[in-house]
Symmetry: C2
Subunit: 301 residues, 2 copies
């Protein structure tokens, strides 16, 4: 599981301060999460292959999470893309994008499929044989979802020597890995647990931005491998959270602790601060494993 | 007259290759012309004071001239702008911008005034006591206008010693500069031409991007001080002009020659070329005074 931070700053883009966008690589997928203005340039800077992006998840329709999307879609078109592109985001996203493409007489020559969200309950919005993506309803000034990316358990691992010793024919090895008992060459039933070991533990990534402190998400993200939680403010500006519906580093850490996640990554920092280490130290009062997002940084989990 | 090139590259933004946007400073105004994605970052890099921008002119609704506008407007809002902002652009621009602000529940707290254009004739769209702005209908794949910024003649210059010698009271000096005859202290009529000299010659800036080769614009831009004309292609790709409705450097120079402008600035270069000097040399076959646009470059005329 690899996370590339393309931008992790709140509100207005500046040189070297990009608004929110990140790439999550999980089980062969390359998911783009949020797409602030300038994301396509950040993708190039970080040498992300545009063609590998097939699913884009937009948390909410504030500019710093969304204004780069129409430009990226237009660039896909100019690059001659033919593969389907799926966009998941709040109701209204389809109209906003298609209106702009229409005004520029610039329809895409690839299938552009919108999956508009309006539920306030967590729901599975993507599933294949390797993972699921579930919304995490958040509390912000406009309708907003976080996203939980959850691997499915993989196959069990074959203990090759044990399977051979148990006289199982090779053609049954896949059955064993899938958790089925099989007959060996002598007609004896072999318990799959005797010749396979448990699969690798699954990983999960919970993306929560933007949101006020919201303990109701804890049950959804419980035990996540990594939680990315917005930390717009330090404690000294906690009074701004209620109106702006953002969180402090300390509140993000409380969520991480309640949800018993393995790792917390903080981001969406307000432009008013110079020293981001303060976010880490305020968070670590509540939760130890804290990483700070940084434009261009790559995390492997 | 000062021209700051924020971006001069066609199509998709890349690191150090910004799409079209420029700032024209003329008679105390600071006009923003086109606004591709990332323009607000380019404005910051070039230390342009956001509050000084009161009029934005959008040539057409292709992304590389327009996708940065909604982000810039949102940033104006976050910066607490109160002054009016006027946006001039093709019909549809108001719906595209206001829809996105509405979806983000982010109405501006300053008056945002759209002046939608749909005429295919040149028309004056802005006028004050110092200058006029006139559309230049262009030939592109979508409805497109260039813009002619034309200074009005200033006041005549007072020949102070001559005026004193002619015994004109100081209170009449402004009248003289405005071209009126006045009576001196002895009741004698003084001809304004005897005590003032002609004003500085007026300057004009013609912005033409994007367009195919279009000789019908020559009568509108005749004698302009500076012509900025798109030059997307070199001669070797002239065959692409018909379909894309763009120009070569050589065609831009032919327009400059026909219009007898003083200076040609080339821009909107396609990303397929490495050596921009080739644009200059191809243009100079037809017209001598050629400058090349460059992101971040400032021209004083």
């Amino acid at each position: 599981m690899k996370l590339t931070i393309l931008g992790c700053h709140s509100a207005t883009p500046r040189a070297n301060h990009n608004p929110t966008a990140q790439i999550l690589e999980m089980r062969g997928h390359m998911f783009l999460i949020d797409c602030g203005e300038g994301t396509q340039v950040q993708l190039r800077r970080n040498k992300v292959k545009f063609a590998r992006i097939k699913h884009i998840f937009i948390s909410h329709l504030h500019g710093d999470h969304f204004f780069g999307l129409v430009g990226l879609i237009s660039t896909f078109r100019l690059l001659g893309r033919e593969a389907e592109l799926h966009v998941y985001g709040p109701k209204g996203i389809k109209e906003a994008i298609t209106l702009q493409l229409k005004l520029g007489n610039s329809w895409t020559n690839f299938p552009l499929l919108f999956h508009e969200l309006e539920s306030t309950e967590a729901q599975c919005i993507f599933e294949d044989d390797k993972l699921t993506v579930t919304t995490i309803p958040l509390d912000h000034r406009v309708y907003t979802n976080g996203f939980l990316f959850q691997e499915k358990p993989g196959e069990r691992k074959l203990d090759y020597e044990a399977a051979v010793a148990a006289k199982v024919d090779h053609s049954y090895f896949n059955k064993l890995k899938q958790g089925f008992d099989v007959k060996n060459r002598e007609g004896v039933i072999i318990d799959y647990k005797d010749v396979t070991t448990t699969p690798d533990p699954t990983k999960s990534y919970a993306y929560c931005s933007d949101t006020a402190y919201l303990p109701s998400i804890v049950s959804i993200i419980k035990g996540a491998t990594v939680l990315y939680h917005e930390a717009t403010f330090l404690k000294m500006h906690e009074h701004l959270c209620e109106k702006t519906k953002h969180s402090t580093a300390s509140q993000a850490a409380e969520i991480a602790k309640l949800a018993e996640v393995e790792q917390l990554v903080l981001g969406h920092f307000s432009g008013r601060y110079g020293d981001y280490e303060l976010f880490r130290s305020e968070a670590q009062v509540h939760f130890q494993n804290v990483l700070l997002a940084e434009d261009g940084k790559v995390f492997e989990f």
